[in-house]
């Protein structure tokens, strides 16, 4: 049995799964339920000057009948009184001392506000702080949240205020609403943050009600850009995580990975790309806290299968496998193969290749079942047929190298090799 316990900046938790700062972590009731269910830690919903929220607050993107492929919210930071939050945080820590308690913060834009807030929070016994520089809606109009994270200089200034006062670990949460997360990441690392977390939500419009013509969510006939999250944002989050994990400066601090994580596989992927632990929200909002059981069991079984004894054995293992396009081997070549015993003759590979790729699939007409075969000499190895095939392992991509030696784009040009080989 592998050991999935986590130590993030000295903050220990029985597993690397924290609940992200959001509605599931905004009060004692939910947090205790989460801990009872087995979550390793929580990041308490962002504290700051008390706000007023609107109704309604969420909207979603469904896909082919599956709900919440993407999720969007326009909720602000905690709208509960600060003293009640602080009291409940303290109570939760006492009841579950083995779990991580991080508190998310977004103080008003002055040094005094930040430093006073930090002192109050530290008095609760919290294990760490997460600076919310990412929230992309509402608070940004007041110059807070993503407005801070989008400007490396401002972000640096705020982190410096924080570091003057903080005596517990500080994590800075980055916004994805930038062309690159690296400049702000570098800036806050220079200012002394102990760790980074990413991504926060992405500004979005999830859709429009085609009867009322009002975009979602509808607040009295109007809407506003919301923060997008859920499974749809995972690939974007993974990319941004990689840039932080590869940058010479930012890679020196631990990273807490966030963005569309709902299963142990998602979590493993984030960790392989450099996250020391992960934070989850949308999946818990959709299914409840019970999903933690499979996340722990699944990761544990995978680690056993792969021979990893602790999570540190695999964190960051895939970072070096993402490189520059120019370093890819042009002589590597794959050709699709359709396993005729598995083929169910749906024709999806054929029409995808025919209309959108390289016309590399033969159709032998049959009634009612056509036969589909690959034209090896035409196939460029794009993967499209394999991706659309509904049958597992029916289409496989087989390696047929064009040449034995590694040749990248630069070598290719230097050698004057032909371009029109397909």
């Amino acid at each position: 049995m592998a050991d999935i316990s986590s130590n993030f900046l000295g903050i220990k938790s029985p597993n690397p799964f924290w609940l992200a700062s959001a509605p599931p972590t905004d009060k004692k009731y939910n947090v205790l339920r989460a801990f009872e269910a087995g979550w390793g830690g929580v990041v308490w919903k962002t504290l700051g000057s008390q706000v007023k929220n609107v109704s309604s607050r969420y909207s979603a993107v469904d896909f082919n009948g599956s709900r919440l492929m993407g999720f969007n919210n326009i909720e602000l930071i905690s709208d509960r009184p600060l003293d009640i939050n602080l009291k409940e945080i303290e109570e939760c820590i006492k009841l579950f001392p083995d779990r991580a308690m991080i508190v998310s913060l977004m103080a008003d834009n002055d040094k005094k506000s930040w430093q006073e807030l930090i002192k109050k929070v530290e008095d609760t016994g919290a294990h760490g702080l997460e600076l919310n520089f990412g929230c992309p809606h509402g608070m940004t109009e007041r110059g807070m949240g993503a407005s801070v994270g989008q400007d490396p200089e401002i972000a640096c200034m705020v982190v410096e205020w924080v570091m003057e006062t903080a005596t517990i670990p500080v994590i800075t949460k980055l916004t994805p609403n930038v062309h690159s997360v690296v400049p702000t990441g570098r800036s806050v690392v220079k200012a002394g943050t102990h760790a980074l977390s990413l991504i926060n939500t992405i500004q979005s419009v999830t859709g429009i009600d085609l009867d009322t013509l009002v975009p979602n969510p509808n607040v009295g006939g109007k809407s506003v850009f919301g923060g997008y999250c859920g499974p749809a944002v995972k690939p974007i989050a993974l990319k941004m995580l990689t840039t932080i994990a590869q940058d010479e400066l930012t890679k020196k601090v631990p990273i807490s990975g966030i963005g569309g994580i709902g299963t142990w596989k998602d979590a493993v992927e984030f960790m392989l790309l450099g996250a020391s632990n992960v934070q989850v929200c949308t999946a818990a909002m959709k299914h409840g806290f019970r999903i933690i059981e499979d996340m722990c069991e699944g990761m544990n079984n995978w680690m056993d299968e792969k021979g990893f004894k602790t999570i540190d054995d695999f964190i960051g293992k895939s970072v070096e496998n993402i490189t520059h396009w120019e370093d890819l081997d042009i002589n590597f070549h794959v050709i699709a193969n359709i396993n005729q015993d598995k083929c169910i003759h749906c024709g999806l590979c054929y029409i995808a290749c025919e209309d959108a790729s390289h016309q590399s699939i033969n159709l032998d007409f049959g009634k009612p079942y056509n036969k589909y075969t690959i034209k090896d000499e035409e196939c460029v190895g794009c993967n499209l047929c394999k991706l659309v095939c509904p049958v597992e392992d029916c289409i496989t991509m087989e390696v047929h190298r064009k040449g034995e030696e590694y040749v990248n784009w630069k070598d290719w040009q230097d050698k004057g090799l032909p371009l029109n080989d397909h």
Partner: protein, 451 residues
């Protein structure tokens, strides 16, 4: 031993004849199923539909919430798409070809989805087709069954004025008169006929029988072309002694009565034998049981492997409690006081494969008898041989012979459906009507346009 009506309570009748294939309860249920569809290219389901309904397209349209478009996709290929969704033996057509079968998964519920869209179209009376302005051409159609209605609809869409002559008092043909009531109700059939006619340009003259109330010569004289969708007639005679005893019935008229009258008015025996194993035999046997017969026995001269009905149909009969005797051929009906008392059958065995590739039943010489008070004959139907002979039309045992253009040997007279093929599915007749209409339009030098 007796044949009586009113055996059950009103509630029991209603329960026994309730819709055997209930529809999706709501939009979510339909969309869950629609989203299972893989949206195959050159889809096997479409290729297995005699009317070429673009199945993946209409299902995709359900999942995109374009129900009107979905209904248009179905009905533009098959104007009786609503009825076919209830009566088609889909297990040997679209659903039987669904690629999910090859994954050992349940096929997509194509019929149920088809029903979802077409039912909405009928309920809301969506007018999905616009008739071209009348071009002055007139076509007479004989028979308001699936072939005739389908032919009429295509012709009307293309601006032809159509008159249908129907010998019964209702349209729909065997859909209305020849299918078990638990599959389609008389009300549904009437609604479907009205929905088809709502395009305009089609008039049905009821109670007009060819050869009696109207003559072929008149049709040829008064119309630019004629389409015969006359179907087939009464059940084939068994040709055995005792066939005239009271209690021997024709499956078609038995089913017709159930469709035409209140269930409680239909007399049924205690012990019923049904001869045959086609769809009609099943419909007769199951309904005999559902009317309150104590024992129903299906008698078939070949084995299960050769049966004409589908497995699904046979299962309905079995679930209804019908008994089945394979390899038994009726030899004689014995009566008492002029009424059926016993069915004497020969035990049969199968030959080695004969010239048709189908095994022939051979009499073993052994016999057995069944105590029965009612016998329903469902061993196929007889074409209108006398009628077609009288009009000097080329035929084979009464089945009209047509060329590749659906034309009979008489110029300007076209035919299709059961009258030609001897009796197939509703969906086959619909296609024959479409093809016949296409040939007629060509014959009339009109362009064929199904948009």
């Amino acid at each position: 031993m007796n044949i009586t009506n009113n055996r059950l309570s009103k509630e029991q009748y209603e329960q026994n004849f309730a819709d055997i294939h209930p529809p999706f309860e709501n939009k979510t249920a339909a969309q869950v199923e629609a989203n299972r569809c893989l949206f195959c290219y050159d889809a096997p389901c479409t290729k297995s539909c005699p009317t070429d309904i673009d199945v993946p397209k209409f299902i995709k349209q359900i999942s995109t919430d374009n129900i009107k478009g979905s209904a248009h996709t179905i009905l533009s290929s098959n104007i009786m798409g609503a009825g076919c969704s209830k009566v088609c033996p889909v297990e040997k057509l679209c659903e039987g070809a669904c690629v999910y079968n090859l994954l050992e998964e349940e096929p997509i519920s194509i019929a149920k989805l088809q029903r979802y869209s077409t039912q909405k179209a009928m309920e809301n009376n969506w007018q999905l087709f616009q008739r071209k302005p009348s071009n002055g051409k007139k076509v007479a159609i004989v028979g308001a069954g699936p072939a005739g209605l389908s032919c009429a609809h295509v012709l009307s869409r293309n601006g032809v004025d159509v008159t249908i002559y129907e010998k019964e008092s209702k349209g729909g043909g065997l859909m209305t008169y020849g299918i078990a009531a638990y599959k389609v109700t008389p009300k549904f059939c009437e609604d479907e006929v009205n929905y088809i006619l709502s395009i305009g340009g089609i008039e049905i003259k009821y109670n007009q029988e060819l050869g009696k109330n109207i003559l072929m010569g008149e049709l040829q004289k008064n119309y630019d072309a004629v389409f015969l969708g006359i179907g087939v007639g009464v059940a084939r005679r068994l040709g055995i002694p005792g066939e005239s005893f009271e209690g021997v019935e024709d499956a078609i008229s038995f089913i017709y009565n159930i469709r035409d009258k209140n269930y409680s008015l239909i007399p049924i025996g205690d012990k019923v034998a049904v001869i045959g194993m086609g769809m009609t035999a099943i419909d007769a046997a199951t309904q005999a049981k559902r009317l309150g017969a104590k024992k129903v026995t299906l008698v078939y001269r070949r084995t299960e492997a050769e049966k004409p009905c589908t497995d699904v149909e046979l299962d309905i009969a079995k679930l209804d409690g019908c008994e089945i005797i394979w390899l038994a051929a009726p030899k004689e009906i014995k009566g008492e006081n002029g009424k059926v008392a016993q069915l004497i059958c020969s035990k049969m065995m199968l030959s080695e494969t004969d010239t048709n590739g189908r095994k022939t039943p051979i009499d073993t010489g052994e016999i057995f008898s069944l105590d029965v008070d009612m016998i329903i004959k469902a061993a196929g139907q007889i074409p209108f041989e006398e009628l077609v002979d009288m009009n000097k039309m080329e035929n084979k045992n009464g089945k009209l012979i047509i060329d590749t253009n659906y034309s009979t040997n008489i110029k300007g007279v076209f035919a299709g459906g059961d009258a030609v093929n001897g009796g197939k599915e509703v969906v086959d007749a619909v296609q024959a009507g479409k093809d016949g209409a296409s040939s007629i339009l060509e014959y009339l030098n009109l362009t064929f346009n199904l948009i």
